[in-house]
Subunit: 883 residues, 2 copies
């Protein structure tokens, strides 16, 4: 027969710390602490299996549960020397939920069960404190009525307020025992009136009702939502912990508090915590009194009274417990304790939450201390959190006036004055102002504005829209898809609900959660320290995947190298086309009527591109630099609106009609599926020739100056063998011409993006020519799903809410579909060319889960935004260690 | 050692008729005729392998060839009783190309080789005709100089003209023998001056130069282009036929002609042909004299002199030969013959080209006659040509003024007045006029105009653009992507080159070749006859695939049934949304702010959809009707331009701002990859519920009236298991509700389109819910290739010219990529659900090659435009017979 109830007490527990799945985190912790000799109030845990049973069997309990509970309760009574429901020496208990993973505040708790008009007398007798006893009774009835019986807490709060008014007092603790007693009856009357039932006085009934309430709370809407958001399975269920009550509010020798075995904010190896004398846990939370520091060293205010000072011997016990537990768990821990009349009880132990910075320091320190090995140290770091270390963040404690919420497209935080165009952004920053660029959506034309803005905010677009991708590449904060903004660029204002933000108003973006605040907000800028470097070195020892960066500029490349990037995995040459007034030459090239005219315009671009590449190579000496030939459709380089076309026609000295005709003729219904990538190379080979010439001339000159670089020339949007065949020929021919004119022979590779499903299907053919594959998983996700990442915003929320998608497939690589296509491509590609180089340069290259998938696919490298390189390094090490 | 030369003569040949690959079509025919005892001038064939060798070995001939040629030439001399280069009794020969497949006019021919100043005397001696001999000599030098030596034929033509002027005569044959002799020397001088070489007088030199010239002509640009267009491999090479000359121009007992064993135009079983007395083959081609009918029965003019009448015994021989050959080849044949002084020689036999109508009649007749079996009869029909029988076509003989050429998007022909909008089309047709609707491109809003127009012409879009697909569905002629048209709708004119077509001008579209003509052109309307029905019945006996039609209206369904469709494979419900003033209710539905408002608007659409379905069921009694739930993004139902939005706002009685806001909010960057298909069903379940209700209510009422129909409810754009799971639940629930309210239980299926690569990858999951898969190969091609069919026009021509694509993948299913995805889907789908129903409803469902692929994939059915149903039936039979 299954065991449903696990007792703990008298230094012995049925369970152990590893039974988190069965006993929940809290129950397992209580058992473990009991086992290693720590003082814990006795109690028992009803397993998560009971919860699962409960929901599978129409809310019935398994046979035998009742007896097990009764037996365990008897053992608790024995251990605590008190009896449940006893009028002289009553045992009171708390009933708390406790799932496998902490779901703070999501589920129900009831304290002080076992009280009624009889047992309260016993409590007075035991505590010699009538006020305490009636206050406890009052709290119990109030809490039980709300949590278990479903009475609106407002009704009882107002009864309490009324009573305080009658008595002309301000605080609860100024009410007399009789006042509190009155309130108990008033509350019970409320229950009778509202629910037509008599408040249960029988302790056993109270207990079972409490247990049911906890199980029921597993399926309240807020818990369901939380589970969805945090990917917690419905089937896990919650355990129920029934624990003897201990009181921190029994006078000045009592107290309650929380502590961390190390500093959760900095990681510093020092005991850290807060406590309150003569208080219950909820008082700490309520924030009526200010908690005091736990020890002298963490005192910030000379008036603070530390626990170390106030109760030195108890503090000594607590510190000993903390050290014992940390040594035992080999982890930084979060502890809850209560001191009842000078006796220390531990109520909870769990892994302490910490900042990214603290996580790094703690892992490195613990490894130094010999507590954990390097592998464990690496696995302790949440790769995603590492991104925090790269960006300023909004100070969590500062006050904020939330205007709206969008998608947290690029992390970090930024404050600045609102501007509405790239031009404005440039003008204002030239004046020394900090600006936030606000657009409906951004396009490549906005890049010069984006590069000078502090942050970018768009009303449209998803997590991989143009704004998001570019901002992440720049390591710049961005919020996208904030649909509640009504942007009126002409008027120079944004309407959000009933508020109006005008040009020049300061707003702050929180790129980590998507919140937009009015006015400036205090920021925190973490620094990269020794510990960070140490943990990166640990990761480098274990990872198999190499990590490159997507970088289009020398600045990007420099940042990437400083974070440990081993080459460039994607240089998008088109971004260079927008730099300075190159766009003019680009537009001349597009408007060219003949190949000769086009050649002439390309001739102007050649030296510019070449110098770009030299600068890029300089930052990446000795490494591979993967350069993608022109990818976007040409219309992206031309204006769209009538007025922009008119303006440009004047500047370019061509007629409006000519320009307009070109714009119209280049218009595409679905530009994502249009005349782009290698299709441009097929139609206008002279463009690709110019780019190859620039890449190779730069490489030859670099080579002649005694440096090494391996150019990888990447042909985008290949889906057909003949495309790569034709274009590889073109590339190789031009490259050889350049090398022979320089008298230089250097290694270079020619390969393709794999970003179309068809390319995966015929990867064996393509690999006959391609020396490398770089998975462009952004576009592969678009084409595999038939999702436009510019348009997905209209239905993605529905898809996530209805659980059709577990995650945005542009953030987390879809293993079943896109991943399956990649598998086929890897298999066919390596079959045709066993030494083919395999990488990924989509946004997924910086996502930990996706990196694990790439590791398992045996790719050679991942490539990501410069600022995500450390994330990728840690993720790659995780992946290698897990497999 | 390989044999390079195949002799024929003296009733024996080295080769046989089946050696077409080695000897070319002409050589194989000459050998076969010789073998079966037909009189053929003796000669020999140099094999295609020599051509391949020639190009692989830097234009050298294989060892041994020379000897073989010399030996064969000796045998020819023996057979013909004359000697090559003999001054008394010279043998003259022709040197002709002859590839595996006829490439008419593409390659070189030289006649009368062996003539020089000596041998011409022998020719005079033999023919007793000095003029004939010198004319032959003149022709030889002229032809050799042009074809072999590369002299511009104009130079020699003008010398000839000059001579005629000097002699004051009009025709060549009025020149005297001496004039002709003079010309021979003049021509030889031209050669010397132009090329610095002496005209070769040595017959053997002439022969080898002639042979080289034929091999060289395999790789002249026009031949290369022809091969590309006709998918003839470069490697096939050409054979060279060296054949003794015979002369049809040796007086009134000589003649030359061509004949068909049956009528190539009607298929009628009667000997049919034309001839000219005292003429050479080139005279027939030159058209100076009008050829005469071969027999009395085909005389059209009482003055005609038939061969039957003029040379009864020769005619009898010819008829006998024709009968013998047809019996031997079991095919309708195209024959070339020459009569030299009363002796009949056969010069060529090949399969006769014929119209679609003739092909059907000939196949049916030959089967009746016991000449071929049913299988052969079916395989004789080119499935694509069958489409001709369904549409009026432009009379090939009528005069045309070609304005421009676009893509032949939908076959047939149509004349009408030019109109520029759907509204205009409706107005003008109401007045009884016939119109051609000319648009930049069409959208669903134009359907009412398209349905009344005679034909559709667009400046943009490819073979599967909206205009093309809809027109084919309607069986209406359309030309798309005619980029040379500059359409100015406001002015009401089209500029083509330097011509202007105005509103109301009549133009004619030739949908079979994409030509647009000014003014009306005579049309031919073939009729569907008994033979057609017979051949369809033959096909039905053998095919495995079922054939359904894509039909959105009862009219379509009726046509489809009449052509033999076995159900509807795709009914696009959205097309119904544009009928009458339903669009108003559709727009109300889209503008609805809440689900309730939407429900109200949907309530108006329900009875309309229901009555549509009942009408459709009526045409498809007893069959399956596959209905696709709403697919296109909602913005397709709203106007786009400012003025249209203003107009509609007034009509709908909403503010301009509200409508504009909706239009803007629904705008998509890539609508193909946007909020469409089942994504609409997820966001607005009430739309799908209404459609299911209409489908099922109609089915229940139909069922109650004693009729059978199997509704197949198809959910589009599924790529994720959870989509079909969620929506199948919705469909089944609604269907059951409707059935129970009608007290009816009927069979219905729920399934999906498979049109996304991801759907193929997870087809096993999807098949857990889907009861059928219908491959939407249009969209699958778009997503697999990353090609937008609306935009492919900008680079497809480059892709075809550069041989990157062999065919437009929207016309011919791409087997390597898209086909591979389909294979995976079929395999995974049947694995998860062995009895899953598999079909295809993309445009490829009407393409013969694609149908063969579907047959081999073991699909259950193909579905195509109603007018392509016969094509599909024949194709399906071909596929079954070939495998």
């Amino acid at each position: 027969m299954a065991k449903y109830v696990y007792f703990f007490g008298n230094k012995k527990a049925d369970g152990v710390g590893s039974m988190k799945n069965l006993l929940g985190g809290k129950g397992a912790g209580l058992a473990e602490m009991t086992n290693i000799g720590i003082r814990v109030p006795s109690g028992f845990t009803i397993t998560t299996e009971v919860c699962t049973y409960y929901y599978k069997h129409n809310k019935k309990y398994p046979e035998g549960l009742k007896n097990e509970v009764i037996n365990s309760l008897k053992m608790v009574e024995e251990a605590m020397g008190a009896r449940f429901g006893d009028a002289l020496n009553p045992l009171l208990v708390s009933v708390r939920s406790g799932a496998r993973i902490s779901m703070p505040g999501m589920m129900d708790t009831v304290l002080n069960l076992g009280l009624n008009d009889e047992t309260v007398k016993g409590l007075i007798n035991k505590s010699k404190n009538k006020r305490f006893a009636y206050d406890t009774y009052r709290r119990f009835v109030q809490m039980f009525s709300n949590v278990v019986l479903g009475i609106d807490s407002g009704i009882m709060e107002s009864a309490l307020e009324k009573k305080k008014k009658e008595r002309n007092v301000k605080n609860d603790n100024e009410l007399s025992p009789d006042d509190l007693k009155d309130l108990v009856y008033e509350f019970k009357d409320v229950v009778k009136k509202a629910k037509g039932i008599v408040f249960p006085d029988d302790p056993e009934t109270q207990l079972w009702m409490g247990i049911s309430a906890v199980f029921e709370s597993w399926n309240v809407p807020r818990a369901i939502t939380y589970r969805k958001l945090n990917k917690i399975s419905e089937d896990w269920g919650t355990a129920v912990n029934v624990v003897s009550m201990v009181y921190g509010n029994m006078g000045n020798t009592s107290a309650t508090g929380v502590a961390f075995t190390r500093n959760p904010s900095t990681g510093e190896n020092g005991f850290y915590g807060e406590y309150l004398i003569n208080a219950q846990g909820e008082d700490v939370v309520a924030g009526i009194r200010t908690p005091q520091p736990i020890n002298e060293i963490s005192k910030k205010n000379p008036n603070d009274v530390s626990l170390e000072h106030a109760m030195p011997s108890v503090y000594k016990d607590l510190l000993e417990y903390a050290r014992l537990l940390e040594k035992h768990y080999k982890e930084m821990l979060d502890l809850e304790f209560t001191i009842q009349e000078g006796v220390l009880y531990m109520l909870q132990v769990r892994t302490g939450k910490r900042t990214a910075k603290a996580a790094v320091t703690i892992a490195v320190d613990m490894e130094k201390e010999g507590m954990i090995d390097k592998k464990t140290a690496i696995l302790r770091i949440d790769p995603n959190s590492i991104a925090q270390l790269m960006y300023p963040t909004v100070d969590a404690k500062s006050k904020k006036d939330i205007l709206a919420k969008g998608l947290p497209a690029s992390p970090g935080a930024a404050s600045g004055e609102v501007v509405f165009s790239a031009e404005e952004a440039e003008e204002e920053t030239k004046k020394g102002k900090k600006v936030i660029l606000v657009r409906m959506e951004t396009s490549p034309e906005d890049i010069h504005g984006m590069s000078v803005a502090e942050g970018i905010l768009t009303a449209r677009g998803g997590m991989t829209s143009h704004a998001a991708v570019v901002a992440r590449g720049m390591g710049k904060c961005a919020i996208t898809g904030c649909s509640s903004l009504e942007i009126n660029e002409k008027k120079g204002e944004i309407i959000v609900g009933n508020r109006i933000i005008k040009r020049g108003d300061v707003i702050t973006l929180n790129g980590s959660n998507g919140e937009i605040y009015l006015g400036p907000v205090k920021m925190v800028t973490p620094e990269i320290n020794e510990d960070f470097i140490t943990i990166m070195n640990f990761a480098n020892e274990f990872r198999k995947l190499r990590v490159r960066a997507n970088a289009d500029t020398p600045e990007d490349a420099k940042v990437a190298r400083s974070y440990g990037a081993e080459g460039i995995g994607l240089c998008r040459t088109e971004h260079m086309f927008f730099k300075g007034d190159r766009i003019k030459a680009v537009r001349e090239m597009i408007l060219a009527g003949t190949a000769e005219e086009r050649q002439k315009a390309l001739g102007k671009l050649l030296p510019m591109q070449k110098s770009d590449f030299i600068e890029l190579y300089n930052e990446m000496k000795g490494h591979s630099v993967n350069i993608r030939l022109l990818d976007p459709p040409l219309h992206e380089f031309l204006p769209k609106t009538e007025s922009e076309i008119k303006e440009l026609a004047d500047i370019m000295n061509v007629t409006y009609e000519r320009l307009k005709t070109k714009v119209v003729s280049l218009h595409e219904v679905n530009p994502m599926l249009g005349h782009r990538g290698c299709r441009l190379g097929v139609s206008y080979p002279e463009i690709y020739e110019m780019q190859v010439q620039a890449i190779m001339e730069a490489a030859c000159e670099f080579h002649k100056s005694g440096n090494i670089i391996i150019p990888e020339i990447m042909i985008p949007v290949v889906g057909i063998y003949e495309e790569i065949k034709l274009l590889k020929e073109l590339v190789v021919k031009k490259a050889k011409d350049v090398m022979s004119s320089y008298g230089v022979k250097l290694k270079f590779l020619v390969g393709t993006m794999i970003e179309l499903p068809r390319a995966c299907m015929v990867a064996d053919e393509i690999a006959k020519e391609a020396e490398f594959f770089s998975f462009g998983t952004n576009d592969l996700t678009q084409t595999a799903f038939g999702f436009s990442r510019d348009d997905i915003g209209s239905f993605l929320p529905d898809y996530l809410n209805k659980n059709i998608l577990k995650a945005d497939p542009f953030i987390e690589l879809d293993r079943n579909g896109v991943g399956e296509l990649m598998k086929i491509a890897v298999q066919k590609g390596t079959q045709a060319r066993p030494d083919i180089k395999l990488g990924i340069c989509g946004e997924h290259g910086g996502d930990p889960g996706s990196i694990e998938f790439c590791n398992n696919l045996n790719l050679d490298y991942v490539s990501c935004s410069p600022y995500r390189v450390p994330v990728a390094i840690i993720s790659a090490a995780h992946a290698a260690l897990k497999n």
